[in-house]
Symmetry: C2
Subunit: 316 residues, 2 copies
Amino acid sequence: MNIPDFEDVRAAHMRILPHIHRTPVLTSSYLSHLSGARLFFKCENLQKVGAFKARGACNAVFGLSDADAARGVATHSSGNHAAALCYAAAARGIDATVVMPRNAPAAKKAAVRSYGGRIIECEPTQAAREAALAQVIAENGADVVHPYDDPRVIAGQATCALEMIEDIDDLDAVVAPIGGGGLISGTCLALSTLSPETRIYAAEPENADDAYRSFHAGEIVLQDAQQSVADGLKTNLKPRTWHFVSRYVTDVLLASETEILDAMYLTWERMKIIIEPSSAVPLAIILKNQELFRDQRVGVIITGGNVDIRHCPGCK
Amino acid sequence: MNIPDFEDVRAAHMRILPHIHRTPVLTSSYLSHLSGARLFFKCENLQKVGAFKARGACNAVFGLSDADAARGVATHSSGNHAAALCYAAAARGIDATVVMPRNAPAAKKAAVRSYGGRIIECEPTQAAREAALAQVIAENGADVVHPYDDPRVIAGQATCALEMIEDIDDLDAVVAPIGGGGLISGTCLALSTLSPETRIYAAEPENADDAYRSFHAGEIVLQDAQQSVADGLKTNLKPRTWHFVSRYVTDVLLASETEILDAMYLTWERMKIIIEPSSAVPLAIILKNQELFRDQRVGVIITGGNVDIRHCPGCK
């Protein structure tokens, strides 16, 4: 199993810099006061394609040889990785094919199409996604870029924490959402070298708590067809991401659907940024576990902003 | 009539720096492509209190002598200036009283209260506001900080364009909304010294077109009780802001209510930031006057993000 190391992260950052935004780290006196901590929000919702996924996708696509690139790239994804891969492929001038669940948000499908990607729809289960993808590969020999179980993607996602550590000193903790574990793995990879004292918390919906169960069981627990408003976090860990989660994550903390939506709207209202439900899980767990973070400097990774705002979930 | 000069702008920036955010300048490939120009968005929606008004208010409050400050400050405002003045007053530890129209958005009233300000409600006309304010002054001798007809406020608002010019070279044009003209006056003040070749466009709702009519009449045209979804832009020019508008503004351009809301949601969706309707007028006029900006570097001032997002206007 190919596990990326910190040199891969440095190489990824150099490779992707021309194709990504250096996203700002924002603060909110109100949210810091409310939480009792000092919060620093790394705003990947302001990233290319509206999500940190641009980092891993660009690292994978721009690391391909010309011969491999010519056959195009393909993936299955809940949405942001798909858009990101199409963005990266378009930037390099190659084809991208995406297998997506038919119930993925319209905004995410539209984003894929807007970057010139080809969409193949499937049923919303992991098994259906993988079968459809295998068929695509058989047809055109595309390079498969998995949304998280790929060392190139993990090294790319690690550049987010790398930049945060460059911008903000002395973080006591970093909180990031966990789905399949690509972002958390990258965060572990960067912080274990650059700031090994910083605690790493993975934030997960109660309704999609496979990582929480895995963490407490000491091995990967699989759960199919998880349903949460945090639609980016319904996937399961893989051995490559479990490698990082099991070694470097301090704890996995859970938030309910209501807590996630409350934190999302609170962020919209007070920070004036659009974040998707998945991105609100870290703030939700910080607000409900204040004793863990009181008076500490806490980095929060805002992972994306792709949500159907005119039909926003739970909107009054 | 006291007209601020560029030295006042430099002094204002030094004075307010500890109390404001250095807001980021964001770009969007999508919106640049759509407009045919290269757009740079100075994001004052991410400013303290969610609006550029924090700049002028802080400059006024922190420039007061201790004796004057002790009597507190007061204003009438459509909202953002009110919240900003309360923020600045709280930061200095003094009282703030605010006269607000009773139909001001709930989010803006809540913001004033959250900063410890005292609200006195009045009818939504300029005359009613001014009468109520006169009564407040008679009672406590507070220093009145007008939302735009005040040299301290204009010098403070000018720091927004100052920062934008520091961050972005060679802007061909800057587009900012116009209500009473405080931000545009400050923009004129900064650019006429720092970048005199940069054209300055004022963006105004068709439904509140007093500045447009003034510009074409060559003198201030007053219109009472203007109604627009861009609620920050319903006020009239004053001689002090007309001084700048008449000398330095290239043109005043208009957008319809629908165009404003379309530009607002487009910005939410593509830039992942919450902007209020007033802040969408510049993008609306850029999109409908593409021949003026084609292939040019255009600065856009996003003035604020205070909007009731759960009851957003025109939301489907």
